[in-house]
Amino acid sequence: MDIAAAGPTSPLEPWPDTVDWQPVSRDLIWVELIRWGAMAAMLLVPLGILWGIFGLWPLGLAFGAVLVLMLWRFWSIFRAVRAWGYAERDHDLLVRHGLVVRRLSIVPYARMQFVDVSAGPLERVFDLATVQLHTAAAASDARVPGLRPAEASRLRDRLTALGEDRAEGL
């Protein structure tokens, strides 16, 4: 079959954008900010102390580089969280995320092996949870963070119900 001949979609609205994307909670921004803030502190504080003591310019350079990187990361977290999205279609779950490397996963419900719902301490403080769908392929990447617990359990129940309906062998 000729791939090139197959007209894709309207160039104005390519198909992944026509899907009804659900955003994840904005509170995920705070979770991510704190997580990256802690990481930045762990790198910057020792670097800063060493720089203060020895006054070597490579340490200062590393300090500056890490600082710039972290500031850029903080700035991009806002957009990164907005880039997360999921959509439940009739037969599959779509998940998209990523700013630098953009990813879209299409996971059919029938291929689902099990569903994980997890919530770390930081996520619990902000009343969030993560749902992850596992298939028999390790490479499948269907993780939806930043869901309200109610939404997370609704999604989990829906996924397992659909998975049971369409359960198949491999």
Partner: protein, 461 residues
């Protein structure tokens, strides 16, 4: 009603065979050094004591090991202090292998290995059974695995009473000439580098007599290590026979350790064809089989998948491929290369890359020197991913992955963005249609809509 059939033990000779294996381990563990220190008499005594210990352990372990089939499960019981019962759901059976190491061949025994989805390693090796028992159990397990799950109204059939389809050895599809096998393994970088290595050693020794014996010995060991892979391939693929009946593939191969593997055709996750550079003069290629749960050969070359054809000409490969993936003609696949503007990513290989879709499979071609074509049936796609890195975004391209349960993904590299979206939608949709159309286990909820290749099948939502 399920009759609880009695638990069966492994063959009474198995503890002896296992102890023989242990003997080797003991001697190696004690090492030459110990032999030098304590003298031959004490060494023999130590080996004897440890061997007796190993035999007692094996006998105890044998006494406590049992297996039986309950409904759709194979249960394996193990252990004296730490009891372990494994229930292996046979619906998940991917392939069964009867393995006969040298000692087992001499004693007429065999080991039965099951591959189940999700098992990182081979599940439940039953070592050892008599050959007849192993073959009978294999056929029975396959018959149960191929049968749809009994309806939930309690009318469970008695396992083994009415095997729906017991795969026998179907017509022989292919027999690989041992001569071709040896030549093909001589045409590998490892074997071709042998003269260079030997010349190096001889030269070093000739010009520099002070070069110590240790130096020569370690160089020779290194050469032997390099040669190990081709030699091992020859030994393991010796006398390769492939046959197929209507449901399963039968593969027999091996010289020292003979293996007979049975793979139900509907459990094949994909087929990969490889044309190594050095084989081109002969026009040969190799086919490998992707089966979920077959933990590759853990012998250092981790990417080794299951063999389907160790070496063969295009005609033979065509026939074999068609028997595994019906309707697929390897030579007739027309590959679309990625767009011209991606030549900076693959300055030389770009025209060799490509993607082909047929009505059953998606195929990707890669590699400039060693060309590989990976074929994945739509029905076996687990999930579809579209990934676009920053450089790819600059050029407006993206890579589409079709993930399979084997852990390898077919990568449709650097497709034009619009085409990538279309491919992703298409793979997802065709995967769904193919799943519904396949005579698969489990209830089918939605009738399969007809696949119309003329329209761009966008998702209905």
């Amino acid at each position: 009603m399920v009759i609880d059939e009695p638990r069966r033990r492994l063959h009474p000779l198995s503890p002896l065979l296992r102890s023989a294996k242990a003997l080797v381990v003991i001697v190696v563990a004690l090492s030459w050094q110990t032999l030098g220190q304590v003298g031959i008499g004490w060494f023999a005594l130590m080996v004897l004591v440890l061997l007796v210990g190993a035999i007692i352990m094996s006998v105890v372990s044998w006494y406590n090991t049992g297996y039986h089939v309950v409904g759709h499960e194979l249960r394996v019981y193990e252990g004296l202090l730490w009891r372990r019962t494994r229930a292996i759901p046979l619906e998940r059976l991917q392939s069964v292998e009867v393995v006969r190491p040298l000692l087992a061949q001499l004693t007429g025994l065999a080991e039965l290995r099951l591959e189940v989805v999700g098992g990182g390693k081979t599940e439940a090796p039953l070592a050892y059974l008599s050959l007849a028992d192993a073959a009978a159990l294999r056929d029975r397990l396959l018959a149960i695995a191929g049968r749809p799950v009994a309806p939930a109204d309690g009318a469970t059939e008695v396992a083994g009473v009415a095997p729906v389809r017991v795969p026998g050895d179907g017509p022989l599809l292919l027999a690989v000439q041992n001569r071709d096998l040896v030549i093909s393994q001589l045409l590998t970088p490892q074997a071709l580098s042998l003269p260079i290595g030997v010349a190096f050693v001889v030269l070093q020794f000739g010009f520099d007599p002070s070069w110590s014996f240790i130096g020569v010995a370690s160089t020779l060991t290194a050469i032997a290590g390099v040669l190990l892979q081709p030699v091992r391939r020859i030994l393991s693929d010796w006398n390769f026979r492939l046959s197929r009946d209507d449901t399963a593939l039968r593969l027999r191969f091996g010289l020292v350790e003979t293996r007979s593997q049975t793979v139900p055709v509907d459990r094949v996750q994909g087929v990969t064809a490889t044309w190594p550079l050095l084989w081109r003069s002969q026009g040969w290629l190799r086919l490998t089989l992707d089966v979920a749960g077959v933990a590759g050969q853990d012998n250092g070359n981790g990417n080794e998948t299951d063999r389907l054809l160790p070496v063969g000409t295009a005609d033979v490969a065509e026939r074999v491929a068609a028997s595994v993936l019906p309707g697929v003609v390897l030579g007739a696949l027309t590959f679309q290369p990625p767009p011209e503007r991606t030549r900076w990513f693959h300055p030389l290989a770009r025209p060799k890359l490509g993607v082909a879709l047929t009505d059953k499979i998606v195929a990707t071609r890669e590699g400039l020197l060693t060309r590989t074509v990976m074929m994945v049936p739509f029905a076996r796609i687990q999930s579809v991913r579209v990934v676009q890195g920053p450089l790819q975004r600059l050029l407006g391209v993206a890579t589409v992955y079709a993930d399979t349960a084997r852990g390898r993904s077919a990568a449709l590299r650097d497709r034009d963005l619009a085409e990538a979206w279309w491919l992703a939608a298409e793979l997802a949709e065709r995967g769904r249609v193919a799943r519904l159309a396949a005579p698969d286990r489990g209830p089918v909820v939605v009738p399969a809509p007809a696949l119309d290749p003329g329209t761009a099948p966008l998702p209905s939502t």
